[in-house]
Symmetry: D3
């Protein structure tokens, strides 16, 4: 806290943020949110949802591996898997903030509902929204999967180091 010298309180202001998602697979849009959030908060936990209601295209291990590759060198970023309620996971990790990226209105509606729900379940974790940069506004994991399936170009959509792995898994 600038201008608030009490040393013991400084630790208090160390802020942990969680960026949850399916990351199936992670895209340049996700990477953009990660990079920008990591500049604002002391620790950023990228949390890969593993609830098995929807069959993902990539296993949890693959999704975590992709995230670790693309965030290598970001010192305050951690990758973690979680199942259950996000509000509970945030409590366990002592997170102060939940970060969500927004592309468009339909995103917003759903995310707004989730933010209100999570704030009821865990008032200690504040949801903050960040706009996707314009370059990535059209991007989503499902668009990436569709393009990869038919061998379309993924340049500018997913980080280079994971493009081959995505084609290998999805291309028909």
């Amino acid at each position: 806290m600038t201008a608030f010298p009490a040393a013991t309180e400084t630790g208090d202001m160390m802020k942990t943020a969680i960026y949850p998602g399916s990351f199936d697979p992670c895209t340049n849009g996700h990477l953009d949110i990660i990079t920008r959030s990591a500049k604002i908060f002391d620790t950023l936990i990228v949390a890969v949802l593993t609830n098995n209601n929807k069959a993902p295209a990539f296993s949890v291990e693959e999704r975590i591996d992709f995230l670790q590759r693309v965030t290598a060198g970001m010192e305050n970023v951690r990758i973690a898997a979680f199942s259950g309620l996000l509000a509970d996971f945030a409590r366990t990790r002592g997170a102060d903030v939940i970060i969500k990226g927004l592309r468009a209105v339909s995103d917003f509606e759903y995310e707004f509902q989730m933010a209100l729900t999570n704030s009821k379940l865990n008032p200690g974790a504040e949801t903050l929204f960040m706009t996707t940069s314009t370059d990535n506004m059209y991007l989503s994991s499902s668009v990436v999967r569709e393009i990869a399936m038919y061998g379309g170009a993924l340049d500018g959509m997913v980080p280079e180091e994971i493009q081959t792995k995505i084609y290998d898994k999805l291309r028909r």
Copy 2:
């Protein structure tokens, strides 16, 4: 930065956020955003826009006075006036974050555009959005002004300590 011992970098992570608005007058919705933001960032600057394109109902002095009264006791909150571009003001104050409250989709559309504009003008200040709490979702300064003008009840809409001042100015 938890687990990153380099002392000189700790100062780096002191984060300043700006919460800009007209606050004409401030409402319980604004106060809710201020309270929640002040818990997350080291310093919160509530910035009262004084561009004189639109004639405000309350003078800058009145609007600042209201904000100072309702934030009395919040140690890391500063009230400031600004004119010109928000992106420039954020740069001058060394702000890392611009906070915006969101009530609904029409808010979001406009704020989204502003966030992209400000990020182009000042890439160093990240816009973060916070959902209005459900209790305040219907609230806006213009709703408050309309109700005060016709003598409707302002309870639960603006902090008690400024209700009389608002009636005095606006009631017909």
Copy 3:
């Protein structure tokens, strides 16, 4: 109440609805909402807002005259002027319901906010929304004024009996 014989309670269920607006001028879209609402509620009060913040194109007297002409023969429809807060007017008239027509999302956002505000100011009057019929979905008083100003055809947009009066006032 069907199947609830207590005679004294029957009066209780006589329902009065208010349909508020500027009606500057009334359109076929307004007339459609009036016709459909009048079939559902015992009394429908079409309430013409006369707050003089925005300069209307037609005087209150003209707007009321237009509404009386186009609702002639609808026995349970009343036309009234009001100023001040809608919630107060609804209370004075003992209204149980406020009717609003919806055309599109931007309508909805604003109306949603108003509905929550009015429900706080007068919990006894419930706001109910009705979709505009598809034929009238593009219609608004401002579209009608713009077209009339430049002499465009108003057929299908406003009832025939008031078309000439609208041209007389607005055509440049």
Copy 4:
């Protein structure tokens, strides 16, 4: 009808409304709509959709049982199951009104389409929308199921008398 003495017409104005849904399970949001609608219309039929396209979490019997418990004591509320087209069900029951609750824009888009479709299939039944109260704005049956599945707190989300039954069925 105030001021319309003809006794034979009074029966005409007895209004029946239908509130259709999956209610899988019913939430405080549903209960709020039921309570408010029952004050406006003579009879309110809560209609549980049983088309078996989507596998519900609760059986029709369970969903009806929940609704009966939480509406016990509301004299003009009936619970019924229906399959097929809502427009046909409304015709069979002589309903004048279809009630829908709205939380947000994405709700609204879909409901708007349904209202226009139903009005084409059955012009005699008018769809009216009611805003969800702010307390329940984040609530949906799917949010409740997700929370129950992971043992989160359901207080304020579903009526107390059915909480245990919901946990018993869904908790993993």
Copy 5:
């Protein structure tokens, strides 16, 4: 190009548009877009998507047959099946334009994302949106299937010549 006499360039301006969709089955809304687009572009290719991710109600052959029946006599309209990426199909056919019909905001959000994606994959094909006419605004293939399933009236929803075939396939 009017007023640009160079004959060789005239061929350049022959424009081919693609109208892609599932057409499961085609509706009057689709037919409206086809009719209006065929007046603007030299050739219109109605492209039936055959990616087998989602089980369609009608086979590709049936869907193409329906489209051929209802577009009989439209000389510059072609019906074609395609799988894979729309951007690739547009390139193969030398299409300059992709036509999409819009009904509402939720349509728009998704279509906006698709337009940006396709423009990245194939900058040579411009996506143009056309509003659905008000008569067809509530219509969608899924609404038609739902109504047909329960024997509701399809008049005004699908062209007469295919109504019986739709009932034969879907009616329970």
Copy 6:
């Protein structure tokens, strides 16, 4: 019509599009729509609205001058002023298409209404929407005016050749 040899019909398919707006001033977003539209239609008329309801920042002459400078070299683009109804102007010019750029949902709502109105007033001119490219998504004439007023950087927002003229007029 490709593959339809009748020479007399070829002229029929010469298509004129109108791109209407205030262009107060024109931005890179406008220029992007102009460039892309000019590739699709034989003639593109950029039509500057001169209805004097709203006081523009730039005169009609200035706005036309800016457009002429930035479209110099685009052979099938014409700049024209118009007042009155767009539908009438389109009829006078024999336009087949009205082009509109879309940035976001709030744009869309208004434009949708205008498209339906114009189609009623002039069924011969079809409104087609084009998405703004992601680079220009945040841009609007009012954002440009605001930035210029306070001396912010306009690079990437308006074509270089008109930046000085904009500053000269607007900078305080």
